[in-house]
């Protein structure tokens, strides 16, 4: 007994002392802090994002000589465990490590916390400012009432995506009944509200036969929901569901035999495509930026091939990460120094041609990247780059141009003098 107690003590103490699985620290780099989940239930998405960032920084910037004539970009992961509290701690940690630019994307809740914290930090510590590049959090508020000078969004916000989605529905006269289902939290509600609003304007004839919220992450079997959707006679379903809620919804639809399109935001990659498999074929539509199948440019084709060769089980799931890295590098070069305010000013209004050939603009008024949005379909036919090594992937069905998805903003940007 005493023995084991003692052994326990030593192990515990040794662990407290800190396990050193250290990373080498290169000198003279510009540090980018990647603050997203690296452990816990959402770690898969975070880990994949970190790889995509590191790869983009290495391939597209560092291998081409870096920025400012030879300074390299260094991406470091900070585990925020998708918690606002941890994100703020990690932000402090990153600042302590000399990070100038933070990137984050998973969860609008965390994004709201971070943008708030960054603004406060920058106001309270003018000599230690940091830049926040949001590559995936889509809450419209971030570039509207909550906008600030140091926040830039490289993903299309939820309203823009809904604009694209409803444009697609507008073009399909066969869809006269739509069912909206989502997770019961801000994003799910925002999707529902935007869908009702925009469909009402674009298709007054169309009937919304169901508008439903379910608790997030608590529903084990979606069969009753799908049964209800089927009974309503809906011709299309709109959902903002992600993760297991998305997969289970699609599986239940397949089981019941609900053969209508599902317009989704997050139904691909990180195991979801593989899990959906045949169950989602032709049924799951994904509204997102980017360009997967077929690749629009050789450059993007080569890039994707190289990435998938390096990481066997990974895919380019977040095209916007490439834009984020490239535009940041260009802004640093344009600013000519690493002053955060200068970089931010350089980013404002920047016009850029993406690796896939799209023209995008970082709007100065609200720091929202104006970009085309595409509707993809989940299928195993004509797939150039599949996902999760499943044979299934996303094939582009339709592209909605920038002009159609540009929305006015309520942002009143306060710029530092």
């Amino acid at each position: 007994m005493q023995t084991s107690r003692f052994a326990g003590l030593v192990v515990a103490l040794a662990m407290t002392a800190g396990i050193a699985v250290g990373q080498a620290q290169a000198a003279d780099t510009i540090k980018i802090g990647f603050i997203d989940p690296l452990s816990g239930p959402f770690a898969a998405v975070g880990q994949s994002g970190l790889k995509q960032f590191t790869f983009a920084a290495d391939e597209l910037v560092n291998k081409k000589g870096g920025v400012l004539g030879g300074t390299m970009l260094e991406v470091t992961g900070y585990d925020n465990q998708v918690s606002a509290k941890e994100a703020l701690i990690q932000l402090k940690k990153a600042i302590g490590d000399g990070v100038k630019v933070i990137v984050q994307g998973n969860s609008s809740g965390v994004a709201n916390a971070l943008t708030d914290a960054v603004e406060k930090h920058n106001t309270r510590n003018p000599d230690q400012r940091i830049l926040y590049l949001n590559y995936s959090a889509v809450d419209p508020a971030l570039t509207n009432e909550k906008c600030n000078f140091w926040h830039f969004r490289f993903d299309a916000n939820a309203d823009m995506k809904m604009e694209a989605l409803t444009d697609d529905i507008k073009a399909r006269a066969d869809i006269d009944k739509v069912y909206v289902i989502g997770q019961d939290y801000s994003f799910g509600k925002a999707v529902a509200a935007a869908a009702v609003d925009m469909l009402g304007k674009k298709r007054p004839d169309l009937e919304i036969v169901g508008n439903e919220l379910h608790p997030i992450g608590k529903v084990k079997d979606f069969t009753p929901y799908v049964t209800k959707i089927k009974a309503s006679g809906a011709k299309a379903v709109i959902t903002g569901n992600w993760g297991a809620d998305m997969v289970n919804l699609a599986k239940a639809a397949n089981d019941i035999g609900l053969d209508v399109p599902f317009y989704t935001y997050y139904a691909a990659g990180n195991g979801i495509t593989a899990t959906l498999g045949a169950a989602g074929k032709g049924r799951i539509m994904l509204v997102t930026e980017g360009a997967a199948n077929p690749a629009h440019t050789d450059a993007f084709r080569a890039y994707t091939t190289a990435y998938e060769a390096k990481y066997e089980n990974e895919n380019i799931t977040q095209f916007r990460i490439i834009n984020t890295v490239q535009m940041l590098a260009r802004a640093i070069d344009k600013a000519g120094n690493t002053n955060v305010d200068d970089i931010a000013r350089a980013l404002e209004g920047m016009e850029f041609t993406t690796i896939a050939g799209d023209r995008v603009i970082m709007r100065a008024s609200d720091h929202q990247l104006a970009m085309p949005i595409r509707i993809f379909v989940h299928t195993d036919e004509n797939v150039e780059f599949d996902m999760d090594n499943s044979g299934f992937g996303l094939v582009e069905e339709r592209a909605v141009p920038v002009s159609a998805v540009e929305l006015p903003t309520t942002c009143k940007m306060k710029r530092p003098s």
Binding site: S4, K93, S108, G109
Partner: protein
Amino acid sequence: MSVIATTGAATTRRATFRRLAVWLVSAAVLLILPQIFTSGLAVTVMNQMGIAIVFALSYNMMLGQGGMLSFGHAVYFGLGGFFAMHMIDWVDQQLFVFPIYLTPFMGGLFGLFMALVIGSFSTRRAGTVFAMISLGIGELVAALSLILVVFFGGEEGVSGDRTTGPGIFGFNFLQDIEVYYLIAVWVLVAVLFMYLFSRTPAGRMANAVRDNPERAEFVGYSQRTVRLISFCAAGFFAGIAGGLFAINYEILTEQNLNATTSGGVLLMAYIGGIGYFIGPIVGAVIFTLLQTVLSGYTDLWVLYVGLVFLATVLYVPTGLTGIMMMHVPAWRLGRLRSLVVPYLTMVIPVAMLFCGLVGLLEMFHYRNGAPTGEVEMTVFYVTVDFTSPLPWAVFTALTLAGGYLTRRLAPAVAASFQAATSYDAKGSSA
């Protein structure tokens, strides 16, 4: 064994002085700490520790002191925090004037109120029934927090600005270091009051009810009321911790009251040792270090925390504090020095075992997610090629040798420990 307290006035006064000295020293340490750990991260981590200390101690008012195992203590932490956050917002909107630095008290009152409401039915029974009710309430409140947007702000939560209210001594809490001192004061006050609570009739009877609820009823106490009082006090101090959280982070979200936070506080209290007043303090400090610092080094940190927790439950149910306290008799007897050599002989094998295990785990983990073609990784500042059998062999050998030596040496160390702490050994004194 004739250590009877000679309750002379002099002894009492000396005891009182000694007790006072503990608090004064603690205050001094809290004052000096930021001079030693000056980095922004250190201050951030210390702020978090302060919040965790109050929260974990409040939890132990139930588990350790009152024998109530709760799986939903975050509810009071979170609700107190949300209320304090709204207070800060109301001050910001100039609905009324209230000093921000006192909002934790309001958070505490709200936590107390909610504890009173929920405790009125949940404390009727202890044991499994209480644990299950706390679990159910925790799930309900967490789920409702996403539905009731007006109060909880949905997924984004509620945020505000702590700097707008009337300041104190010229502090407006613009910088984290100012918040540090605010938290330090609150921690000191809250810990003092939690300690004093344990010394009141209500606090003593909480221990009695924990030990033997039936007997407590036969000396005039309703076990339910005793539990309710502890529960409310725990809710109050959890609410204070929530209020501190609101000031420090300026945001509260659903995560502050969900099962993860509730589970975390149980881990903290238990690893630290629920049988001692200071146990949860130790646990909160260590858990915060693991969560914020270790997580920067390895993705596997949660696995390590799980291993430490399970090892604690299995082998040291008295927690880390219990291990320290085990040595008090040896210290009293002046034999602590006799343990130095045996402990040192253990250091090497245990370190070997530890390095070997961690190395194997880390290599296995890294290999799973490594990019194609990359075969190198860094373990313990050494770069290794995980495709070659050599590092695997080295770490396996370290594990096995360390494990073997630990087992071999353990009885001798245990024997020296026995000798050092046993009263019957030669020169028995006191």
